[in-house]
Symmetry: C2
Subunit: 471 residues, 2 copies
């Protein structure tokens, strides 16, 4: 047994028991006290240090519970064996975060931006307050893994009325964003699948399914969407499609092609279609086209939609509608996953929809986006000699396709960049950068810009792409 | 070309264009109009039906965009080919939802319950309101995939002060609950891993990693935690452990065992330890034991924690701290995953912590749980003749281990059930139900019960387990 003379600061910042604990711990770590060494009894040490015995007791308890010492009945406290490595405070080297060089983008024509300036924050706030005070405790509990029944019922009704989706609320799974739901869907569908995906596409889905080990076949599009012969040639058992409004091409899949895809899915067991209906809310002509799910008679379609696009990106609420067969697999294998959305947010959202605020907001946004869309299309008329314009009538961007086969996409993007505009080359949405039969194509999104910015931005694009050569 | 005599209800519920559209669609679907049939021109049909030409135009536009008809320049409108399947409204059969028979559980000693009755809802509400009004638009945008920098900074400081975690804020990933983060971690770590997991354990983690295809080795525990020789015998490259307070056994891993595990991880490339620090906030004796991450010098530990346990289950916010090597993989392969937590909630939570409310709430809860814990342990003294009591001093449950080798777990659970108590058998947390060297063991959680319920519940358990035989 060693005598421990611990320098105690009686009025120090640290409690006396803490000082004793830290001292002994340090001695053990540094090897001054080693395996099997016996510590003084609490009585002996307390007398030696002239502190209360209970204070020493506290320090020993802490050392005991962290496993630095052990207590042998009727014998005393002994230092434990510590494996090789030692505990030393050593600040990690701080790695400088690399910040990308900021380019001066004055007009960002991002196809993924949304306009949140009209969001009825005061309504949202009011509902938030009501939900928090009315439900109180219950709302803090975990809740249904699929999502709150009230919200699912509301989504079910909404999908039925607005998208023709036919389902029961028990088929709906609410999740924190599409990325999460696609990961979960990967678990439900099981390992080793082969996924056909439109090319070009929303690369996020491509990346998620690749990251969970799915083999991906990139299927080319024609003016009606995914080419079915190419789908048949691939060994795919699942296809990920955006029939209402393909991103980024803007193709709207006609009923004939939808039927062909459903027939493909019906031909074999274990074939499924994932319908991503990501921005069906924004359509400026005619009435919305019913979902693919609505014409699926045999439970082959998984319908996925989101509020992140239609309300605000920060609202991390998406939903998927599982066909019966997959619902059963979910119940069996995956229902242990806790819901990934806070119940508070689920309740606020349900109330927002039920109270008619969502519909009003959608109508307002549709009008706002339509105005921007029409303004942009009008301003783009001046480009018609050199470009074809595609994808109008829906969504939040249009495509400009160069008529000149010698113009490259990079050239367009770079020239735009020089006049302060950021436009998005179509090739960045391609899965494979192989032979391209498309001419140079750029995406022009408008949702995130004000009408004034759209006007100025298009003027800048004109300088970039039309005037330059005349100067 | 067929003459179409469409019965128009001028003052009907549906707009006239809608009636025309529905009529023609139905004709096509039912085969009365078939592939290649030419429709009357808009002029002809409008004259025939005595409606405005633009009304017919609207109906044709809708049919065009849904792909039922096509327009051939200078010729007119033709019915498209529809693949075999037809669109028919046919309500799906409603499956009755099976509701489990409700048993009359008066005292649910669930080890997973939490007490949310003291949650400072008014503070949360106030911060919510401030956050929504101050940040307004910005907060509706998508934000950083890892989580808001402000929240990550706050978590970083909190983890450093309270758990000794050494990290930079860029190593922190915020996610919607542990389940999500473990799925994401699975993607970061990559396919085909072999995971060692404590047995018994938190089965959720077991299920998640199984569902993403990891091979699982169930490693037995001794009184210091996961047995290292068994870990070495398994071919595992990753181990999932709860060193601060193992669930469900309550084992607190001493420093010696921690070092052994770290040494195991250091011996080979690609070995990692996942430290789940799920309820380290609730410890009733001594000061908290620093995290395993805090003694990891070589970046082998992934630290995972959650606010769902310490604030409320509905707060779906968890976080993980990635070591440098995995951070780089995340940045390279996974940073496209959008954040799964609403920015509103992230900001409210950050403010809740920064304002000191979290610490105050934790102190309050620790006191509240300590009182319940002490009360329960006092009441359980009467069982000491027949049971050993383990796992006190931390967490939200204790274990009762029968001293009688003939008593079975089922017996204990069933008898308790008859007196209105729900207790949880240890075997339901076991990965494999093989040979059990443990005696019949039940978990008694107390967090979800009031002090009065604990008193009444334990009295009921006494009737169930002690008195019966004397009657």
């Amino acid at each position: 047994m060693r005598e421990l003379t611990i320098p105690i600061e009686v009025n120090g910042k640290e409690h006396i028991y803490e000082q004793i604990y830290q001292y002994i711990k340090k001695e053990i770590i540094e090897g001054s006290l080693s395996e099997g060494d016996r510590l003084p009894s609490t009585r002996a040490l307390s007398e030696h240090l002239e502190v209360a015995r209970s204070t020493v007791g506290l320090a020993y308890d802490q050392l005991l519970s962290e496993g630095y010492i052990e207590s042998v009945p009727y014998k005393g406290y002994y230092v434990c064996r510590l494996e090789g490595m030692l505990y030393l405070e050593q600040p990690e080297t701080k790695k400088e975060e690399k910040k990308p060089l900021r380019q001066t983008v004055r007009y960002d024509f991002s196809p993924n931006a949304v306009d949140v300036s009209s969001f009825p924050m005061s309504v949202w706030q009011k509902i938030n307050k009501e939900v928090l005070s009315e439900h109180y405790n219950e709302i803090l509990e975990l809740g249904d893994p699929k999502g709150d029944p009230g919200l699912r019922r509301t989504i079910c009704q909404y999908l039925h009325s607005f998208r023709g989706v036919k389902c029961r609320e028990e088929q709906i799974i609410v999740g924190a964003g599409n990325d999460y739901l696609l990961m979960l869907l990967g678990v439900i569908l099981g390992e080793g699948r082969k996924l056909a995906i439109e090319n070009p596409t929303y690369l996020r889905a491509y990346r998620i399914f690749s990251s969970i080990g799915y083999k991906i076949s990139a299927i080319p599009l024609d003016e009606n969407g995914m080419q079915v012969p190419a789908l048949r040639e691939s060994a795919a058992d699942t296809a990920y499609i955006m029939p209402s409004h393909q991103f980024p091409t803007g193709v709207i899949m006609p009923i004939g092609r939808r039927m062909e895809l459903l027939n493909w899915a019906n031909e074999k067991e274990e074939r499924f279609l994932i319908e991503d209906d990501y921005d069906s809310e924004f359509r400026y002509r005619g009435k919305p086209i019913p979902s693919l799910q609505s014409v699926d008679k045999r439970g082959r379609v998984i319908y996925v939609g989101t509020f992140s696009k239609s309300i605000a990106p920060a609202i991390r609420v998406s939903y998927m509608v599982l066909p019966q067969e997959l619902l059963e697999r979910y119940e069996k294998n995956c229902s242990f996953f806790s819901s990934s959305v806070s119940r508070i947010q689920q309740n606020v959202l349900a109330e927002f929809i039920r109270g008619g605020h969502y519909e009003r907001y959608l109508n307002k946004m549709r009008k706002l986006y339509r105005n921007k869309h029409n303004q942009l299309c009008r301003l783009l008329e001046v480009f018609e000699e050199r470009f074809e314009i595609y994808g109008e009538g829906a969504g939040l961007h249009v495509l400009l396709v160069s008529k000149d086969p010698l113009v490259t996409e990079e050239e367009l993007v770079e020239k735009a960049n020089k006049t302060g505009c950021k436009v998005y080359g179509l090739s960045s949405y391609r899965i494979e950068q192989a032979i391209q039969d498309w001419r140079a194509t750029v995406l022009i999104g408008y949702a995130g810009l004000t009408e004034r910015e759209i006007e100025e931005g298009v003027a800048a694009l004109k300088r970039a792409w039309l005037l330059e050569e005349n100067e």
